[in-house]
């Protein structure tokens, strides 16, 4: 199997209007920057984006918002920390141009994990009794109130990797791993941009973070140059 695509443009070409697309990355770290830029260029509309933050330390997500490609965002950290600073998302949200659904970070990750694992729903104590419990079923286990949360399946998952082999086995680097395995497993079509692409057999089979079965396409990219800060203007 050779899952290597010639370019990020080719790899994202078929993402249709209305798709639910997941993006990896934690603030500045581990974002699929090349694939996201290619998606901004490609221009599909009415997207539901699933991503930790909404432009906070992630200029590529802002490109999608600027282009008006985003109908809805599902996230856990939508704003700048400062109340006085409005992100593009915050402006669009307040103007009624983008919807937003918020989940606690652990629930967000677990919803992706559930989608990848064929688990349609699970219970978690997180969020019980809070604003984020509204409209959710509550149920008590071992004396503790929990909420039922459902799986969050993705049509496409965009992933940034350190190394991938041509079959789609993937290794991440340090904290750039973060949501990468979860987004990859939750997606029907998983597209991996990798800083290094090697032949099958070159990666140690004991030390693969994401097995090939979860990966649909692999594209070689350069190592991005990242400014590690979320408060830059």
């Amino acid at each position: 199997m050779d899952k290597v695509f010639p370019s990020v443009e080719e790899a994202v070409k078929d993402i249709p209007d209305g798709a639910t697309v997941g993006f990896t990355g934690f603030f500045t770290c581990g974002n699929p920057v090349y694939l996201t830029r290619a998606l901004a260029k490609q221009g599909s509309k009415n997207l539901t984006i699933v991503v930790m933050q909404l432009g906070v330390g992630n200029d590529e997500i802002n490109l999608l918002l600027e282009n008006g490609q985003v109908k809805k965002a599902i996230c856990n950290y939508p704003f700048y920390r400062s109340f006085s600073r409005q992100s593009l998302f915050e402006q669009l949200m307040k103007a009624g141009k983008v919807e937003c659904e918020l989940f606690p970070m652990g629930t967000f990750a677990e919803k992706l994990r559930a989608a990848g694992a064929g688990i349609p729903a699970f219970y978690t104590p997180t969020g019980a009794g809070t604003l984020l419990a509204e409209g959710k079923e509550a149920r008590t286990f071992n004396g503790r109130e929990c909420l039922m949360e459902t799986a969050l399946p993705l049509d496409y998952g965009l992933v940034h990797a350190w190394k991938a082999d041509r079959m789609g086995n993937v290794v991440f680097r340090k904290t750039a791993r973060n949501y990468n395995p979860d987004v990859a497993k939750a997606a029907r079509i998983t597209i991996v941009e990798a800083e290094n692409v090697v032949e099958p057999g070159e990666l140690d089979p004991d030390l693969i973070h994401l097995p090939s079965v979860y990966v649909t396409r692999v594209v070689k990219v350069d190592r991005p140059k990242i400014n590690v800060t979320i408060e830059k203007s």
Partner: protein, 225 residues
């Protein structure tokens, strides 16, 4: 409001908390004063977790030591300590929700005498039912011991330790101890127990800027720094 009570500096609130975390513990530190706790833990046998997916996070990295693939949950470049490990976000929160953090230290906007606390949504920010919830709700329900670190009252002098939270809560009945610039307070089934006060302050001083009724501990002490 009464006249302003200074109490101890933020760094000393952090020191007081560090003294409360025994060697051999696993802990997660939130943003703000909690982050300062790491300065006092440096070199001790306490493993810090970062929600981004790391155990045994080291001190902040500067200049050429910065690695763009190595950040903490506040998006600051950090370093590795021997015995550190990396894992995915779902694994990070499996660990947190699964009760593996002996201690979590978080900031708060309000804490109530029933152990509720509010920290993720400020109504005046005009962000509706949204807010930077991040991992706070997971840490709040998952940590074996949840410590709150904060200034005792707001910059405009409003009390933050209340009978009931008025802001949207992060979790119900989860706070174990409150550490402020003025006091150390235990949250117990009987109510809030004032254990320590900052040097130069009396229990009455602390009560005067606290909405909730404080039970004065029989062995009330000066803050142990």
């Amino acid at each position: 409001m009464v006249k302003k009570l200074e109490g101890v500096a933020r760094e000393l609130i952090a020191l007081r908390i560090a003294n409360e975390i025994p060697d051999g513990s696993y802990a997660n530190l939130g943003i703000g004063i909690p982050t300062l706790v790491s300065n006092w833990i440096e070199g001790r046998d306490v493993v810090l977790e970062a929600e981004v997916g790391m155990l045994n996070t080291g001190p902040l990295a500067f200049d050429e030591a910065i690695d763009q693939d190595l950040i903490n949950a506040s998006c600051q470049p950090v370093t590795e300590l021997p015995g550190c490990s990396y894992f995915s976000s779902s694994e990070s929160f499996a660990m947190i929700r699964g009760g593996r953090m002996d201690y979590a230290v978080l900031g708060a906007l309000q804490v109530a005498e029933n152990g509720d606390y509010a920290g993720w949504n400020v109504p005046s920010a005009n962000r509706g039912k949204l807010g930077n919830v991040g991992g706070s709700m997971d840490l709040a329900v998952g940590a074996r011991n949840l410590f709150i670190a904060m200034e005792h009252y707001t910059t405009s002098g409003e009390p933050k330790i209340l009978k009931r939270c008025t802001y949207p809560i992060t979790a119900r009945g989860v706070v174990k101890k409150i550490f402020t610039n003025l006091a150390v307070i235990d949250v117990t089934p009987e109510g809030l127990v004032l254990r320590e006060v900052a040097a130069g302050l009396t229990a009455e001083n602390v009560q005067s800027v606290t909405e909730a009724k404080l039970i004065i501990s029989k062995d009330l002490k000066e803050m142990a720094l």
